[in-house]
Symmetry: C2
Subunit: 492 residues, 2 copies
């Protein structure tokens, strides 16, 4: 693939002038329009050392308002970054809606330098391909534009450039011994690069190869590609907006068999057994907390369930024995303005715990297929594709070695009513009950259908759902503790 | 001070029961009320190794809803943290309004372990005292409660505890060689601790000494102190709310002499000189960017000025020559919901650049004494004390070695009108002009008084204001470039 490129293409100065005069003002105007349309843009620069990435990025952004973009140089991961899945540091830096992020090297490091330099094993970089493709698709599905450049120069050209750089004391420091080692491995890299280009050249995030021997040629090709891609995206967006909305009202679908209906809610526990087991498992989980810390295993525990199903009390029993320096409880409310201006999974990626720590989510990323679906806060298209996006994220976390425990706290309608009334009449508990709880209750059928579909579509062997029978709170608490202990023990 | 403590105080079990039964439920209820009143709480635990900090923190938070607090263990700073002023990592972790942050060790590390172990020099830890006192006062002024505990045990007791821990293989790892070294230096530490306690025992953030030989005694003393402090704060707050608001309308004050009136706006530059100097300084600043990177010097450049004074165009000329991996432009708009729920300086602390990098703020922390003052978005008390808070922050940044360059872009009313009209009639520039711009213009006199007072109160030799005559844009751009170059050169 690379060898087919005509690297010796030149560009006369007047043609160059003509092209930049044509495209640069358009690029500046596009930046404003993208902001108005809230479209996030990611521009990725990969390429050989000394291919001119830095210079070309500089030239490209000169036409722009500096308040609207951010350049992210990608170096070897820091300690904090190594303690998370490899995509974490890129997720947290995805641009806000209407913003532009330029990556000087990127997530492709994993299948290039980390692969060729054997920093990670074959299994890991092979799997990274799936992660990368899913990542780019997820962003593009929610409206982001992804433009990827690979800057190509020949081995001879690279040698020539290194030589020139080393001659001047002002630039000699730029050529490191690592660069020279990579130069010697040029042919090995060609293989890895070609595999990367062909495996990740997707419709939503295609690669553009840049013949980078001649700066003028390279720059205009990059500029033109960016402008044309963005203009295409804008006209699509304008077209969409002219179309009438096609949100169909959500109705309670009849799944062939309701999973929830099969749950036996009559199970219970007597006080004595409860006290005994509570004591036992709270001590056990403390030991396990210490072990996962030593082995640097991240643990994510997640609660979903009906209003008044007892999430709060359950979480308190779960953490009572733990060392608070090792866990964090993360309550999930309606997204903030900043969170709304990102991919819906962004805020959960940001909260991914450091390896060795426990994150407990009180409600979660499943909000999209539950409350947002039922209340119409997102379109049907959006929540439908969310199942796959969620599965992909959980798989990426599992691949990183994460223990992921998902709980659905199940109670029936009668029990919920009983608890609502109790809260109403007990002054110490009134603050727990809101108008919204009553409104949600009226939509029990719609929520039930959503829960059933969620359980069906997002339970997998690596990230199974655990349904917790919660009419009896003691039973529920012990089952949660037991399950968490078991899941961690399996991983150790 | 420490030797006066009666370390051998004991507490019978029934008295202990009685006290915990009394205070624990009150603590849980207080947590809910604090949330309702949006009061942030910081609880700091300092003390000897093996004094029982971990265990006591655990016990203390057991009564609480885990969704409302966060425990921050303080270890040696990471690389990322070392590249910022030492308070940075604590600033970014200050709790949200209504939230609680528990620090297991804290910013006092600088005047304890870092002092005694000679990790930093005398000048640095001496100066840290001012930083710490200012930090705590700033938080408390904006409504935070700060509760500080020092857990004291005798040298003999510490030795006994280390011995016991080392006996069991399950706990032996807890005693590090560093702990033993600190133990040998016990008396040296006593000195440092006593100095710390007396210098930082302030009305808004007092120390409570805890006799920590006996767990029951220590726990109840901590619990009671926390509950009583919080109850006092709540009743103050309730009292305040009952008082009628005392916001006096802001009027254009007559400062003895307006600084702005003395600015000669007739200065200008011809095209030829402009082009020449622009080229020269853009190259120069690029060289300087590289030098500050090598020397790990952080640079903060900040723009304030009238609407249409030319901030945007000015910033673009400033960054045109720079490597985008070395700087970031940070536009400051109205605060997000998350930012509003913190101290008003929090969001600027968060954006402090890594040492070696440049942060360019387009509008800034001066918003509080400009737009927030004039538009009444904060109380008079709030903006009045903001001058000192801002000066303190800038001094802390300067102490870290930061190059801080503050610009006020000055134009007169006629020039502003001319530019507004030009924007109005030019379709390519209309997006720049909003209704708000016209409204602000009507309040020119109020803004002018605010600017004059700001320039007067926040200009210091270490963080001077530079007034940029901006009726002529070319002149303004060159003056900004020159000033930045000069300020960086002085620092090198």
């Amino acid at each position: 693939m690379l060898e087919k490129l005509d690297l010796y293409r030149r560009m006369p100065k007047d043609e160059y002038r003509q092209l930049t005069d044509k495209y640069e003002p358009r690029f500046a105007e596009l930046q404003r329009k993208l902001k108005a349309f809230k479209i996030p843009v990611l521009i990725i620069f990969e390429g050989w050392d000394a291919a001119g990435k830095g210079t070309l990025i500089n030239k490209l952004i000169l036409s722009l308002d500096p308040r609207g973009y951010k350049v992210h140089p990608t170096n070897a991961p820091t300690e904090d970054e190594r303690l998370r899945p490899f995509l974490w540091r890129f997720w947290v830096n995805t641009p806000i809606d209407g913003g532009m992020a330029v990556f000087d090297r990127s997530w492709y490091g994993r299948v290039l330098v980390e692969r060729v330099d054997k920093i990670v094993g074959k299994k890991i970089w092979q799997r990274a391909y799936d992660d990368i493709i899913a990542f780019e698709r997820q962003l593009s599905e929610e409206g982001a534009v992804i433009i990827k450049f690979f800057l190509h120069i020949s081995k001879e050209e690279q040698k020539k450039r290194f030589k020139k750089l080393r001659k001047s004391p002002a630039t000699a420091w730029k050529v490191t011994s690592e660069d020279m080692r990579h130069h010697d491995q040029y042919d090995k890299y060609v293989q890895a690069i070609e595999e990367m280009l062909s495996r990740t050249d997707t419709a939503h995030a295609p690669w553009t190869l840049i013949e980078a021997h001649n700066r003028r040629f390279a720059y205009t090709k990059i500029l033109r590609t960016v402008v044309q891609t963005l203009e295409r995206k804008l006209s699509e967006k304008e077209f969409e907006q002219e179309q009438p909305g096609n949100t169909t009202p959500v109705t309670a679908e009849q799944e062939s068999a309701s999973i929830l209906d099969q749950v036996d809610l009559n199970v219970s526990l007597d006080r004595e057994t409860y006290d005994e087991e509570l004591k036992y498992y709270q001590r056990r989980i403390r030991e396990l907390e210490h072990e996962i810390f030593l082995k640097r295993i991240p643990v994510v525990i997640m609660y979903e369930g009906w209003d008044a199903a007892g999430k709060g009390g359950n979480i308190r029993r779960l953490v009572r024995g733990l060392d608070p320096r090792g866990y964090e409880v993360i309550p999930i409310a309606a997204p903030t303005s900043e969170e709304k201006a990102h991919h819906f999974l962004w805020r959960f990626w940001r909260q991914f715990p450091k390896a060795g720590h426990i994150a407990i989510f009180d409600r979660s990323w499943y909000g999209r297929v539950l409350v947002e679906r039922v209340e119409g806060f997102c379109s049907e298209k959006e929540w439908r594709r969310a199942y796959r996006q969620i599965n992909e994220m959980e798989m990426q976390w599992a691949n990183f070695g994460t223990v992921l425990v998902k709980f659905w706290l199940q109670i029936d309608q009668d029990e919920q009513l009983r608890r609502f009334k109790e809260r109403e009449s007990n002054p110490a508990k009134q603050w727990k009950l809101t108008e919204e709880d009553w409104r949600n209750r009226e939509k029990w059928g719609l929520y039930k259908a959503a829960v059933d579909e969620m359980l069906l579509r997002t339970s997998s062997s690596r990230a199974p759902w655990h349904i917790i029978e919660s009419n009896n709170k003691w039973y529920a608490r012990i089952k949660v503790l037991k399950t968490v202990c078991k899941m961690i023990e399996q991983r150790l």
